[in-house]
Protein backbone atom coordinates (compact mmCIF):
# COMPACT_ATOMS: atom_id res chain seq x y z
CA UNK A 1 0.00 0.00 0.00
CA UNK A 2 3.06 2.12 -0.28
CA UNK A 3 2.46 3.64 -3.63
CA UNK A 4 -1.18 4.11 -4.36
CA UNK A 5 -0.91 6.26 -7.48
CA UNK A 6 1.56 3.95 -9.13
CA UNK A 7 -0.68 0.99 -8.54
CA UNK A 8 -3.78 2.74 -9.85
CA UNK A 9 -1.99 3.98 -12.95
CA UNK A 10 -0.55 0.58 -13.55
CA UNK A 11 -3.93 -1.02 -13.19
CA UNK A 12 -5.25 1.37 -15.80
CA UNK A 13 -2.33 1.22 -18.18
CA UNK A 14 -1.11 -2.32 -18.10
CA UNK A 15 -4.12 -3.84 -19.89
CA UNK A 16 -3.58 -1.40 -22.69
CA UNK A 17 0.08 -2.21 -22.87
CA UNK A 18 -0.83 -5.84 -23.13
CA UNK A 19 -3.41 -5.11 -25.75
CA UNK A 20 -0.79 -3.22 -27.67
CA UNK A 21 1.61 -6.11 -27.38
CA UNK A 22 -1.01 -8.53 -28.64
CA UNK A 23 -1.81 -6.17 -31.45
CA UNK A 24 1.82 -6.06 -32.49
CA UNK A 25 2.00 -9.84 -32.40
CA UNK A 26 -1.17 -10.33 -34.38
CA UNK A 27 -0.50 -7.67 -36.96
CA UNK A 28 3.12 -8.61 -37.51
CA UNK A 29 2.39 -9.68 -41.08
CA UNK A 30 0.57 -6.62 -42.22
CA UNK A 31 2.37 -3.82 -40.39
CA UNK A 32 5.76 -3.23 -38.82
CA UNK A 33 6.58 -5.20 -35.71
CA UNK A 34 6.22 -8.85 -35.17
CA UNK A 35 5.88 -11.65 -32.78
CA UNK A 36 9.15 -11.05 -31.03
CA UNK A 37 8.68 -7.37 -30.34
CA UNK A 38 5.07 -7.91 -29.34
CA UNK A 39 5.98 -10.79 -27.08
CA UNK A 40 8.54 -8.68 -25.31
CA UNK A 41 5.98 -5.94 -24.80
CA UNK A 42 3.50 -8.39 -23.29
CA UNK A 43 6.24 -9.79 -21.11
CA UNK A 44 7.32 -6.34 -20.02
CA UNK A 45 3.74 -5.58 -18.97
CA UNK A 46 3.87 -8.51 -16.61
CA UNK A 47 7.29 -7.46 -15.42
CA UNK A 48 5.98 -4.00 -14.67
CA UNK A 49 3.06 -5.53 -12.81
CA UNK A 50 5.46 -7.56 -10.71
CA UNK A 51 7.72 -4.67 -9.90
CA UNK A 52 4.74 -2.61 -8.80
CA UNK A 53 2.64 -5.18 -6.99
CA UNK A 54 5.42 -7.32 -5.63
CA UNK A 55 6.89 -10.66 -6.46
CA UNK A 56 4.23 -12.79 -4.82
CA UNK A 57 1.27 -11.37 -6.67
CA UNK A 58 3.18 -11.42 -9.90
CA UNK A 59 4.04 -15.04 -9.39
CA UNK A 60 0.42 -15.78 -8.59
CA UNK A 61 -0.60 -14.35 -11.96
CA UNK A 62 1.87 -16.47 -13.90
CA UNK A 63 2.86 -19.57 -11.97
CA UNK A 64 6.05 -21.35 -12.79
CA UNK A 65 4.16 -24.37 -14.05
CA UNK A 66 2.47 -22.28 -16.68
CA UNK A 67 5.68 -20.71 -17.90
CA UNK A 68 7.38 -24.09 -18.08
CA UNK A 69 4.54 -25.46 -20.14
CA UNK A 70 4.40 -22.44 -22.40
CA UNK A 71 8.15 -22.55 -22.85
CA UNK A 72 8.10 -26.18 -23.87
CA UNK A 73 4.95 -26.38 -25.88
CA UNK A 74 5.29 -22.91 -27.34
CA UNK A 75 8.56 -23.95 -28.86
CA UNK A 76 7.10 -27.26 -29.90
CA UNK A 77 4.19 -25.37 -31.46
CA UNK A 78 6.57 -23.92 -34.00
CA UNK A 79 7.86 -27.35 -34.85
CA UNK A 80 4.36 -28.73 -35.13
CA UNK A 81 3.38 -25.94 -37.50
CA UNK A 82 6.37 -27.00 -39.53
CA UNK A 83 5.21 -30.58 -39.43
CA UNK A 84 1.92 -29.58 -40.99
CA UNK A 85 3.81 -29.29 -44.22
CA UNK A 86 5.32 -32.70 -43.78
CA UNK A 87 1.96 -34.30 -43.12
CA UNK A 88 0.57 -32.74 -46.23
CA UNK A 89 3.38 -34.18 -48.29
CA UNK A 90 5.33 -30.96 -48.65
CA UNK A 91 8.73 -30.16 -47.10
CA UNK A 92 9.17 -29.16 -43.48
CA UNK A 93 7.88 -25.68 -42.67
CA UNK A 94 6.04 -25.38 -45.94
CA UNK A 95 3.22 -22.90 -46.08
CA UNK A 96 1.82 -22.24 -49.51
CA UNK A 97 3.34 -25.42 -50.83
CA UNK A 98 1.41 -27.41 -48.28
CA UNK A 99 -1.77 -26.18 -49.87
CA UNK A 100 -2.81 -23.87 -47.08
CA UNK A 101 -5.19 -21.11 -47.96
CA UNK A 102 -3.29 -17.84 -47.79
CA UNK A 103 -6.39 -15.75 -47.37
CA UNK A 104 -7.01 -12.26 -48.57
CA UNK A 105 -3.94 -10.05 -48.86
CA UNK A 106 -3.70 -7.57 -46.03
CA UNK A 107 -6.32 -9.18 -43.83
CA UNK A 108 -5.56 -10.31 -40.30
CA UNK A 109 -6.17 -13.93 -41.27
CA UNK A 110 -3.88 -13.81 -44.28
CA UNK A 111 -0.62 -15.65 -44.62
CA UNK A 112 -1.78 -19.15 -43.78
CA UNK A 113 0.37 -20.57 -41.05
CA UNK A 114 2.38 -17.38 -40.58
CA UNK A 115 -0.15 -15.87 -38.23
CA UNK A 116 -0.40 -19.01 -36.17
CA UNK A 117 3.35 -19.38 -35.89
CA UNK A 118 3.66 -15.73 -34.97
CA UNK A 119 1.06 -16.04 -32.26
CA UNK A 120 2.84 -19.03 -30.78
CA UNK A 121 6.20 -17.33 -30.87
CA UNK A 122 4.78 -14.17 -29.35
CA UNK A 123 3.22 -15.92 -26.36
CA UNK A 124 6.34 -17.94 -25.95
CA UNK A 125 8.59 -14.87 -25.95
CA UNK A 126 6.35 -13.22 -23.38
CA UNK A 127 6.63 -16.25 -21.18
CA UNK A 128 10.39 -16.26 -21.71
CA UNK A 129 10.72 -12.68 -20.55
CA UNK A 130 8.62 -13.45 -17.49
CA UNK A 131 10.63 -16.55 -16.71
CA UNK A 132 13.91 -14.71 -17.04
CA UNK A 133 12.69 -11.92 -14.82
CA UNK A 134 11.33 -14.17 -12.10
CA UNK A 135 14.37 -16.43 -12.16
CA UNK A 136 16.64 -13.47 -11.67
CA UNK A 137 14.47 -11.80 -9.07
CA UNK A 138 13.82 -14.75 -6.83
CA UNK A 139 16.32 -15.16 -4.06
CA UNK A 140 17.81 -18.57 -3.66
CA UNK A 141 16.88 -19.93 -0.25
Amino acid sequence: MRDFILKRVAALLLPFIQMYGLYVILHGHVSPGGSFAGGIVVGLAFIAFTTIYGLERGRAKVPEKVTTLVESYGTLWYGMMGMVGVFKGAPFLANKMAGIDLGELGALSSGGLIGLIGLGVGIRVASTMITLFFTMMEEEP
Partner: protein, 98 residues
Protein backbone atom coordinates in the same frame (compact mmCIF):
# COMPACT_ATOMS: atom_id res chain seq x y z
CA UNK B 1 43.94 3.87 -18.68
CA UNK B 2 46.14 1.21 -17.23
CA UNK B 3 49.38 0.10 -18.76
CA UNK B 4 47.98 -3.37 -19.33
CA UNK B 5 45.41 -2.06 -21.74
CA UNK B 6 47.93 -0.37 -24.01
CA UNK B 7 49.01 -3.41 -26.02
CA UNK B 8 45.40 -4.38 -26.53
CA UNK B 9 44.60 -0.85 -27.60
CA UNK B 10 47.49 -0.92 -30.02
CA UNK B 11 46.41 -4.21 -31.54
CA UNK B 12 42.83 -3.08 -31.82
CA UNK B 13 43.81 0.19 -33.46
CA UNK B 14 45.83 -1.76 -35.96
CA UNK B 15 42.86 -4.04 -36.54
CA UNK B 16 40.64 -0.98 -36.85
CA UNK B 17 42.84 0.45 -39.56
CA UNK B 18 42.80 -2.79 -41.53
CA UNK B 19 39.07 -3.17 -41.12
CA UNK B 20 38.47 0.41 -42.18
CA UNK B 21 40.54 -0.09 -45.30
CA UNK B 22 38.27 -3.01 -46.09
CA UNK B 23 35.17 -1.01 -45.25
CA UNK B 24 36.24 1.75 -47.58
CA UNK B 25 36.32 -0.84 -50.32
CA UNK B 26 32.76 -1.99 -49.81
CA UNK B 27 30.12 -1.01 -52.36
CA UNK B 28 28.89 2.50 -51.59
CA UNK B 29 26.19 2.70 -48.96
CA UNK B 30 22.60 3.02 -49.93
CA UNK B 31 22.86 2.61 -53.68
CA UNK B 32 20.26 0.59 -55.50
CA UNK B 33 22.86 -1.03 -57.72
CA UNK B 34 24.78 -2.74 -54.93
CA UNK B 35 25.45 -6.46 -55.06
CA UNK B 36 23.06 -6.90 -52.16
CA UNK B 37 20.12 -5.64 -54.22
CA UNK B 38 20.28 -8.61 -56.55
CA UNK B 39 17.79 -11.12 -57.83
CA UNK B 40 17.34 -12.52 -54.35
CA UNK B 41 16.06 -9.28 -52.92
CA UNK B 42 14.03 -8.59 -56.06
CA UNK B 43 12.52 -12.01 -55.76
CA UNK B 44 11.38 -11.30 -52.26
CA UNK B 45 10.02 -7.90 -53.14
CA UNK B 46 8.12 -9.08 -56.20
CA UNK B 47 6.83 -12.43 -55.06
CA UNK B 48 6.49 -12.23 -51.32
CA UNK B 49 2.89 -11.12 -51.23
CA UNK B 50 1.62 -13.74 -53.60
CA UNK B 51 3.80 -16.55 -52.32
CA UNK B 52 3.14 -16.02 -48.65
CA UNK B 53 0.11 -13.82 -48.56
CA UNK B 54 1.48 -11.19 -46.22
CA UNK B 55 2.24 -7.55 -46.82
CA UNK B 56 5.26 -7.23 -44.56
CA UNK B 57 8.14 -8.72 -46.49
CA UNK B 58 10.25 -9.00 -43.40
CA UNK B 59 7.62 -11.16 -41.77
CA UNK B 60 7.36 -13.12 -44.96
CA UNK B 61 11.06 -13.84 -44.83
CA UNK B 62 11.23 -14.41 -41.11
CA UNK B 63 8.26 -16.71 -40.85
CA UNK B 64 8.15 -18.30 -44.25
CA UNK B 65 11.15 -18.11 -46.55
CA UNK B 66 13.65 -18.46 -43.73
CA UNK B 67 11.36 -19.98 -41.13
CA UNK B 68 14.00 -22.57 -40.40
CA UNK B 69 16.31 -19.84 -39.06
CA UNK B 70 13.49 -18.45 -37.00
CA UNK B 71 12.83 -21.86 -35.54
CA UNK B 72 16.42 -21.90 -34.41
CA UNK B 73 15.99 -18.38 -33.11
CA UNK B 74 13.24 -19.57 -30.81
CA UNK B 75 15.45 -22.49 -29.90
CA UNK B 76 18.20 -20.07 -28.95
CA UNK B 77 15.75 -18.35 -26.65
CA UNK B 78 14.65 -21.69 -25.25
CA UNK B 79 18.26 -22.68 -24.70
CA UNK B 80 18.98 -19.42 -22.96
CA UNK B 81 16.04 -19.89 -20.61
CA UNK B 82 17.12 -23.43 -19.84
CA UNK B 83 20.66 -22.26 -19.24
CA UNK B 84 19.53 -19.45 -16.97
CA UNK B 85 17.38 -21.78 -14.93
CA UNK B 86 20.03 -24.47 -14.74
CA UNK B 87 22.45 -21.84 -13.50
CA UNK B 88 20.26 -20.20 -10.93
CA UNK B 89 17.86 -22.85 -9.64
CA UNK B 90 20.38 -25.17 -8.12
CA UNK B 91 18.21 -26.09 -5.17
CA UNK B 92 15.09 -28.00 -6.07
CA UNK B 93 11.79 -27.75 -4.38
CA UNK B 94 9.99 -30.99 -3.67
CA UNK B 95 7.19 -31.95 -5.98
CA UNK B 96 8.39 -30.36 -9.17
CA UNK B 97 8.33 -26.66 -8.33
CA UNK B 98 4.94 -25.33 -7.32
Amino acid sequence: MKLRTLPILFILLLAAYVVLVAVAELPPYGMSGNPVQNQVSEGYIENAWEETGVLNMITAIVLDYRAYDTMFETIVLFTAVLAVIITLKTTEKEGGGK
